[in-house]
Symmetry: C2
Subunit: 304 residues, 2 copies
């Protein structure tokens, strides 16, 4: 996938909501900078579940919401659910959120109406967001902390090996299990299993489906600090085997098998999780607690 | 309908073709001028039928085509049908056409492939078109010949009364028959019939469906210089009656009943047409030939 393809496919996701398509394309075209990545319909973890934001800029951790709601409070402010949702997202992620309002309340002949904003007003709101993004980008450039969007490098293990680590905030996902393994000393061409040994440290590499599937009842907590694993058949035997692992193999560098928001299967870094015996005994499931949201990467050691 | 509504609805027509949506939104957002009108999927008359262009700027008579074709000649030039079509449109209308190419031929390892252009290349092509449009606009401003886009005025008879005339090139369409009549001395609130007398000159005002319908077999020639009318039943009686009109009532200021490209019924000015007896006798249909593509407008005379 090249950038043309990626951008066109991201924008195409907004066709169902006509104002969203307008806002997203305006921001992208006015930013006019193909070093800046964006994602549409970005999944966000919230304490009470998940949410989607309309547009997300991972390099500056900014979300954008196109507010097509025609419901306002008497004083013209947003209705409660939107505000709660926004606060939730900010609390859960530390990210910033900006909103573009499509409708406004107007008082005409003493009657309150909800009217579409003028195109000039909508454009001005968008232009303010574009200014904000450009300032954020500039400040990242000034402090040399901006990673330019490189769609090839993004999926290439070498990028993360050179960087020395992978962190959850970098939102790293690989196309294959082999690519993920190759960040930890391996040099695989292909690898299919959901487990691999770390080539250097005494840890496991794990590629689970963190949702219910044929064999497993797995889940991850909304804040992603806890993974719960249960085998549908023969859970007890599996549990006993898990308990018998030496301590250093109970720690798992975890890449969850996910669908990317363009629909492709990918393996997304979730953190390092450790088997928690008391919690597991108590829950009747195997509980892993996150011990780190960052992991060291290694050059391939070429013994394979 | 306000401009927000109009623009969003015009852009929404491009959702079926993802590159088109990208190009159209980029041009609109970079022009960044809500005085400039655009139309997507603009109907164009050609000698051999009709065509649609992807984006049209009526103020400067510029059409834009997003070329998603993956077929090229051996030398990388466009295939024949596109070129013929383009020449047709230019010949039929005198308008300008610009093209944005999405794909290009590439020679890799001696093998010819058709590859998507880079996003930077596509953007550069679009930006050149935007520059061109801005120069055209500027030159119209300099010569004081730019009519700013005013969505209210556009459908208001007063605009054309003040201007003193309506011409085919202005692409004028009214929402109602009454609005059209009111450009010629009338002061109607409502009017439903397909005929009206000019309030001042001895001409008719005509609002036909120029396509086959329940009662009529009507058509307009591709170059719009000739209208052919045939009543499905009792054509002879109708023909005889038409012949008996005095000469000065055989001239018809014609607004065709059309669907606007947003789907609304409208009455679009086509020109002044005159009943042509020899051609009609010969064709067995009533033939009207266009005598003018411009017509004088009048203030309401308030006798109604």
């Amino acid at each position: 996938m090249n950038k043309t393809d990626y951008i066109i496919r991201q924008i195409a996701k907004s066709y169902k909501k006509k104002y969203e398509n307008y806002v997203i394309t305006r921001i992208w075209h006015l930013l006019n900078n193909s070093d800046i990545k964006f994602v549409t319909q970005q999944h966000i973890t919230r304490p009470t579940g998940r949410a989607l934001t309309d547009m997300y800029f991972p390099q500056i951790q900014l979300h954008l919401e196109v507010d097509e709601s025609q419901h306002f409070n008497a004083d013209g402010s947003q209705v409660e659910p939107d505000i709660v949702r926004e606060a939730d997202i900010i609390n859960a992620t530390g990210h910033t959120i900006k909103r573009i309002g499509i409708f406004a309340k107007s008082l005409e002949d003493g009657i309150e109406r909800c009217v579409e904003n003028s195109i000039e007003n909508i454009n001005q709101q968008i232009d303010e967001v574009v200014d904000f993004i450009q300032k954020e980008i500039k400040s990242k450039i000034d402090t040399k902390t901006l990673l330019l969007w490189d769609i090839e490098a993004e999926y290439n293990p070498k990028t993360y090996i050179d960087r020395g680590s992978i962190t959850v905030d970098d939102n790293v996902a690989f196309r294959t299990i082999a690519d993920a393994c190759n960040c930890f000393g391996h040099n695989y061409v292909g690898y299919q299993k959901a487990f691999a040994k770390h080539a250097i440290e005494e840890k496991m590499l794990w590629f689970p489906k963190l949702y219910e599937n044929e064999e497993w009842e797995n889940e991850i907590s909304p804040d992603e600090t806890e993974i719960r694993e249960k085998k549908k058949s023969d859970h007890k035997a599996y549990f006993d085997k898990a308990k018998s692992y030496p301590d250093n193999l109970k720690e798992r560098i975890t890449f969850a098998r996910v669908r990317s928001n363009l629909g492709d299967v990918m393996y997304r870094f979730k953190g390092v999780y450790k088997f928690d015996m008391p919690a597991s005994e108590h829950a009747g499931k195997i509980i892993y607690k996150r011990t780190s949201d960052q992991v060291k990467t290694y050059q391939p050691i070429n013994y394979e």
